[in-house]
C-alpha cells in the first residue's frame, strides 16, 4: 500500500492503495466517483474513459502509481453544471438508451472536439471507434458531436 495525492476535477484527493490499482478502481471504490464505468477491464470498450492532462485515456489500464501530478478529469468534473457543449448536445439529441457507456462516449468526444473542433465523419468514426455502445446509439452520438462542434462554445 502507498499514499497518493491525486489531482481530480480540480481537487486533491489522498488515497492509500496498492500501487498497481488502476485509476478506474481508485475513482469508483475509494472516491465514490462512479460516473467512470467498468466495462471490460482491458481497454477495449472505452466505458472507463477519463481525461489525463486533457487526453482521453482508458482508466482501467492506468495504475495509480503512474499518474504522478497529472491532472485527471472525470465525467463528474467535465463541467460544473452539466452544461459542457457535448453534454448539452447529448441531451438535445436524447442520445442515451441504457446510458451505461455514455460517460465514456462523452469524455472521448469532448477530447476529440478539444483537439479538432470541426471533425469530419471519418474523424468522428476513427476516434469514437474505441467506445462500444451495446444499445447502438452510434447514429445519434455522431449527430450530437456535430451539434456540439457547431455550437462554437468549445474553448
Amino acid at each position: 500500500m502507498a499514499t497518493y495525492e491525486l489531482k481530480i476535477n480540480g481537487n486533491t484527493h489522498s488515497v492509500d492503495v496498492d500501487p498497481s490499482t488502476p485509476i478506474l478502481w481508485v475513482l469508483r471504490d475509494h472516491l465514490q466517483l462512479v460516473g467512470t464505468k467498468f466495462g471490460c477491464g482491458i481497454s477495449q470498450c472505452g466505458a472507463c474513459t477519463i481525461h489525463v492532462e486533457g487526453s482521453a485515456t482508458r482508466s482501467c489500464q492506468i495504475p495509480v502509481s503512474s499518474i504522478g501530478n497529472k491532472k485527471i478529469t472525470t465525467i463528474e468534473g467535465l463541467s460544473k453544471n452539466g452544461d459542457h457543449p457535448v453534454q448539452q448536445a447529448w441531451l438535445e439529441h436524447d442520445v442515451p438508451q441504457c446510458g451505461y457507456c455514455q460517460a465514456g462516449q462523452i469524455m472521448t468526444a469532448a477530447a476529440l472536439l478539444d483537439s479538432n473542433p470541426n471533425p469530419t465523419d471519418e474523424d468522428i468514426e476513427a476516434t469514437m471507434s474505441g467506445n462500444i455502445c451495446r444499445c447502438g446509439t452510434y447514429t445519434r452520438i455522431k449527430a450530437a458531436i456535430k451539434t456540439a462542434a457547431k455550437s462554437g462554445s468549445l474553448s
Binding site: 500500500m1 492503495v17 496498492d18 498497481s20 490499482t21 488502476p22 478502481w25 469508483r28 471504490d29 475509494h30 465514490q32 466517483l33 462512479v34 460516473g35 467512470t36 464505468k37 467498468f38 466495462g39 471490460c40 477491464g41 482491458i42 477495449q44 470498450c45 466505458a47 465525467i75 463528474e76 467535465l78 452539466g82 453534454q87 447529448w90 441531451l91 436524447d94 442520445v95 442515451p96 438508451q97 441504457c98 446510458g99 451505461y100 457507456c101 455514455q102 460517460a103 462523452i106 465523419d121 468522428i124 468514426e125 476513427a126 469514437m128 471507434s129 474505441g130 467506445n131 462500444i132 455502445c133 451495446r134 444499445c135 447502438g136 446509439t137 452510434y138 447514429t139 445519434r140 452520438i141
Partner: protein, 750 residues
C-alpha cells in the same frame, strides 16, 4: 371520452392500510430518497405529498410524482410509462418527477422487462391510474365549489368550473381528493385529445446520465460493504472439484474464500433461474481490485460433470431440461446441425401437400442458413448488492425479473416474501441477460454466509463465459414456383442447439397453398436464454434473405413479391392461426417503399429490403450500401414501423435506430465458439461488437399513424435488419450470405 370500470390493477388504486387513518400526508421525503436532485428540482419541492394511488402522488404545490413500475433497461419505459399516467391525469409534464418503483406485487402487475411488453401490457393500467386520480381531483373540486362534477374540466394540472369562474391547481385539491373513495368508473381520453402521448419527451434520467450520477447497480455503495466476485468452471461440461483457498486468504484485503450453491436441492425454480454452474467459488474482500488479484491467484481444480437435468416451473407447467455430459465444440455443433437438418423433422404445421407441389414446380430453390451462439454482453456486467440478516434481505441492483427472483431468493435464503426487499436500479443494458437473476441469488447467499453487506461484481470474462447464450440455429428453406412464377410450395425446417427457432404460423404461412413447417432440436450442456427478440433474431434474417433470393428467381421486385403474398393472405388466407395481420405487414412495406424511394436507382448505391413481425409490432427496412475503395459502407437505413400509437416518438425512433445497429452488428461480427466446452471469446478483444465506424451513417424512422393500442419496440426493429443487410450485401458484392457472422466471409464494413 370512454367510460371504463376501474377493475384493472384496482388494488394499486386503493391506499395501503395505515395511510388512510393517519391523514393522507405520507412520510415521504423525495430529497432523502434521491440525493442527487438537481437545483431546479429542490426549489420546486412541495411541503407535503398526497398519495392518490400506487402510481402517483400530488404535492401541495401541484408537483406530481409518478412511479415507473417496470425495470428500465434502456428501453426508456421510465419516461414513457409515466407519460401515459400524466396524460390521463391531465397534468403539465414539466411538473412531473419520475421515480423508479420498488418491487411491490400488491401495487403493481407484471414488473418485468421482457418480450417488448411493458407498454403494451401496462397501457390500460397506467391510463387508469392517471384517470382515476383526475376524477378524484374533479370530485374534490366539485364538493368544495358545490357544483356538478361533470361541469369541471381539467387541463395541464388546472381544474376549472367555467360557469362559476372557479379554478384551482391540482395541489390545492390533492389533500381532499386523496380522502375520497376510488371511483367505480372513470373517463379515459380519446386519443385525439392526447397532449403528452405522441409528443417527444426527453429521457427523465438524461441529465443524470450525462453528468455521471450513480444510477446503475454497479454504482451502489453502502457503508461497510464488501466486494465479492465469483469463479465459475472454465468450460461447459465441467464442475468444481477442489481449491486451495488458503493460498489467497492472506492476500491484501481478502476476507474469505468459499464455495456457494446458487440453488439447493428441492428449491422451486422458475424460468428466471438457470442451471449453469450451480457450484462456484466466492471471493470476498475490501475492494474490487484486491478481489480481482485474489481471483487471478486462486488455484481451483475442476472435473468433468456427469449427465444432469434441471426442472423449472414454467407458469405452472414443470419443464425438465437435460444437460448431457461431455465437452462440446463448435465444429461438432455445426456438423450435427447440418446432418440432422438434412433429415425430415417434426412436422408442426402442414397445409396442402408440399411434396406433390414440389414435383409440379417449374423452379425449386433450397437454401440453408445458420447462426452461432451469442452472448448478451450488456455493457454493465452482472452485479447485485445484498444485505442479508437473519430476518431480512435487502437486495439492490439490475434485474429484469424482480418478481420471479423474489420468490426464488426467498426460498433459497429461508425467508418469507415479506422479508425480501428488491430495489431496481437503472440497468446498463438487458437484452434478456438479466431475465435470469442467478447473480442476485449468488449475492444474497454470499451476504448470508458472510453476515455482511456485499456487492457482487462479475468481470467481463465471468459474464461472457457464463452461458445463457442465444442458441445456435440452423434452418433450411425450400420453395417451388410454377411456370407463372407463382409460389406454390414452401417448406421450412428449423432447428438448433438446444432449441428450434421455428414460428410455424408466421408469414409466409397463410399465403401459400402448400406449406410445411418442421423442427428439430439437439441436446447440449451449453446453457441458453432469451436474447433480444428470441428466435426471431435469427429466423427473420434467414427468411427475409430467402424471400429475396426467391423473388429474384421469380423475376419480381422483392417488395412486389412480398406484397403479392400478403394480398393472398388478406383475400384468401390458407390455414388457421396465422400469427400476423397481413394488412399491417403490407402497410410497413408500402411505407418503407414510399419513404426510401424504393425503385429509384442511384449509381453506386446497393439496396436491400426486409420486413418482419414479432413481439406485436411490424417493421420494414431498406438498407443502402455504398462501396468505398471496394469496402461496403452502410450509408442509410430507412425503417417503417407499425407499433400502434407511438407514446414518445423521438425515443421510439432511438429504439428503432439502436435495434438496427444491434442487428447489423451481430449478423456481421459476433459469435461465441467452443473448444472442449470452453468459450473461445472472453472479452471484447476476441468477441467483436459493432463499432462506430461500422454503423450506418444515417438512419430514418417512420411510424405508421393509427389509433391501435401501443405495442413495444425493444425487440421488433432488430430481426428484419439482418435480412436487409444480407440482401444489400448481395447487391454490393454479388454474393449471398447464408451463415452468420457474415464477417467470416470477409465483407467487412468500412
Amino acid at each position: 371520452m370512454t367510460l371504463v370500470r376501474t377493475t384493472f390493477g384496482r388494488r394499486a388504486f386503493i391506499k395501503r392500510v395505515g395511510l388512510a387513518s393517519g391523514g393522507l400526508m405520507i412520510g415521504f421525503s423525495w430529497l432523502a430518497a434521491c440525493k442527487d436532485a438537481t437545483p431546479e428540482e429542490v426549489v420546486m419541492m412541495p411541503d407535503e405529498w398526497f398519495e392518490m394511488n400506487g402510481f402517483l402522488k400530488i404535492g401541495d404545490n401541484g408537483m406530481v410524482t409518478i412511479m415507473s413500475p417496470n425495470p428500465e433497461i434502456g428501453q426508456n419505459v421510465k419516461t414513457s410509462m409515466p407519460m401515459i399516467v400524466a396524460e390521463e391525469l391531465d397534468t403539465d409534464w414539466d411538473n412531473v418527477i419520475v421515480e423508479q418503483a420498488p418491487l411491490n406485487t400488491e401495487l403493481y402487475t407484471r414488473q418485468l422487462a421482457g418480450g417488448s411488453q411493458s407498454i403494451r401490457q401496462g397501457w390500460e393500467g397506467l391510463r387508469m391510474a392517471g384517470a382515476t386520480a383526475r376524477h378524484m381531483l374533479k370530485e374534490a373540486a366539485a364538493n368544495l365549489w358545490q357544483v356538478p362534477v361533470a361541469e369541471i374540466t381539467t387541463a395541464a394540472g388546472i381544474l376549472t368550473h367555467q360557469a362559476s369562474g372557479n379554478t384551482a391547481h391540482y395541489g390545492e385539491m390533492a389533500s381532499a381528493a386523496a380522502m375520497l373513495e376510488v371511483p367505480e368508473e372513470v373517463e379515459m381520453k380519446d386519443s385525439k385529445d392526447f397532449s403528452i402521448i405522441g409528443t417527444s419527451r426527453k429521457n427523465v434520467d438524461g441529465k443524470k446520465i450525462v453528468t455521471g450520477k450513480p444510477l446503475f447497480g454497479l454504482d451502489t455503495y453502502k457503508e461497510g460493504m464488501l466486494v465479492a466476485m465469483i469463479v465459475h468452471p472454465p468450460a461447459f461440461g465441467m464442475r468444481f472439484k477442489s481449491m486451495d483457498a488458503d493460498s489467497v486468504k492472506n492476500m491484501p484485503g481478502i476476507k474469505d474464500v468459499f464455495t456457494i450453491d446458487t440453488y439447493t436441492d428441492g428449491t422451486r425454480k422458475s424460468f428466471a433461474d438457470i442451471a449453469t454452474f450451480n457450484k462456484k467459488v466466492a471471493i470476498v474482500g475490501e475492494t474490487t481490485w484486491q478481489v480481482m488479484q485474489a481471483k487471478k491467484a486462486l488455484a481451483v481444480t475442476w472435473e468433468d460433470s456427469p449427465d444432469d437435468s434441471f426442472e423449472i416451473d414454467m407458469f405452472g407447467r414443470i419443464m425438465k431440461t437435460e444437460y448431457p455430459s461431455g465437452k462440446e465444440s463448435s465444429q461438432s455443433h455445426a456438423l450435427k446441425m447440418a446432418e440432422i437438418g438434412s433429415k425430415k423433422g417434426n412436422v408442426v404445421r402442414k397445409d396442402g401437400n408440399v411434396d406433390k407441389a414440389f414435383k409440379k414446380a417449374a423452379k425449386v430453390l433450397e437454401r440453408s442458413y445458420s447462426c452461432p451462439f451469442l452472448a448478451h454482453n450488456t455493457m454493465e456486467p452482472m452485479n447485485f448488492y445484498a444485505n442479508v440478516t437473519s430476518d431480512h434481505a435487502e437486495l439492490i441492483g439490475p434485474v429484469q425479473t424482480p418478481e420471479f427472483m423474489e420468490q426464488s431468493v426467498a426460498a433459497r435464503l429461508g425467508l418469507t416474501l415479506e422479508q425480501v426487499d428488491i430495489h431496481m436500479t437503472r440497468m446498463g443494458g438487458g437484452f434478456g441477460r438479466r431475465l435470469y437473476g442467478h447473480f442476485l441469488t449468488e449475492a444474497a447467499v454470499i451476504s448470508q454466509t458472510m453476515q455482511k453487506p456485499i456487492k457482487l461484481v462479475y468481470t467481463r470474462e465471468d459474464d461472457m463465459t457464463f452461458g445463457n447464450y442465444r442458441p445456435s440455429y440452423y434452418v433450411t428453406y425450400k420453395a417451388g414456383l410454377d411456370e407463372n412464377n407463382q409460389l406454390i410450395a414452401f417448406q421450412v425446417r428449423a432447428g438448433g442447439i438446444p432449441e428450434s427457432p421455428l414460428f410455424a404460423n408466421r408469414f409466409p404461412a397463410g399465403a401459400v397453398e402448400n406449406y410445411q413447417a418442421e423442427e428439430f432440436t439437439i441436446k447440449s450442456n451449453v446453457s441458453v436464454g432469451a436474447w433480444r427478440a428470441p428466435r426471431s433474431n435469427f429466423i427473420a434474417g434467414a427468411e427475409q434473405s430467402f424471400l429475396d433470393e426467391l423473388a429474384e428467381l421469380a423475376e419480381k421486385d422483392p417488395i412486389d413479391f412480398r406484397l403479392e403474398l400478403f394480398d393472398k393472405a388478406i383475400k384468401k388466407p390458407v390455414g388457421e392461426n396465422n400469427d400476423y395481420e397481413a394488412e399491417r405487414y403490407a402497410g410497413v412495406l408500402k411505407l418503407v417503399r414510399e419513404k426510401s424511394g424504393w425503385g429509384r436507382t442511384r449509381e453506386g448505391v446497393h439496396r436491400g429490403v426486409a420486413a418482419y413481425y414479432c413481439h406485436n409490432s411490424y417493421v420494414a427496412q431498406v438498407l443502402d450500401i455504398v462501396k468505398k475503395n471496394g469496402v461496403p459502407k452502410i450509408e442509410n437505413v430507412c425503417s417503417a414501423v407499425d407499433c400502434g400509437i407511438v407514446v414518445n416518438p423521438d425515443a421510439a425512433a432511438n429504439m428503432v435506430e439502436g435495434g438496427v445497429v444491434d442487428g447489423i452488428g451481430h449478423a456481421m461480427y459476433s459469435s461465441v465458439t467452443f473448444n472442449d466446452g470452453e468459450p473461445q471469446q472472453r472479452n471484447f478483444d476476441s468477441y467483436r461488437l459493432i463499432r462506430h465506424g461500422e454503423a450506418p451513417r444515417k438512419q430514418e424512422v417512420h411510424f405508421v399513424k393509427n389509433d391501435i393500442d401501443p405495442t413495444g419496440l425493444g425487440e421488433p426493429p432488430l430481426p428484419p435488419v439482418m435480412g436487409a443487410l444480407a440482401n444489400a450485401l448481395y447487391k454490393a458484392n454479388g454474393k449471398r450470405y447464408y451463415h452468420q457472422p457474415f464477417m467470416s466471409n470477409k465483407p467487412l464494413l468500412g
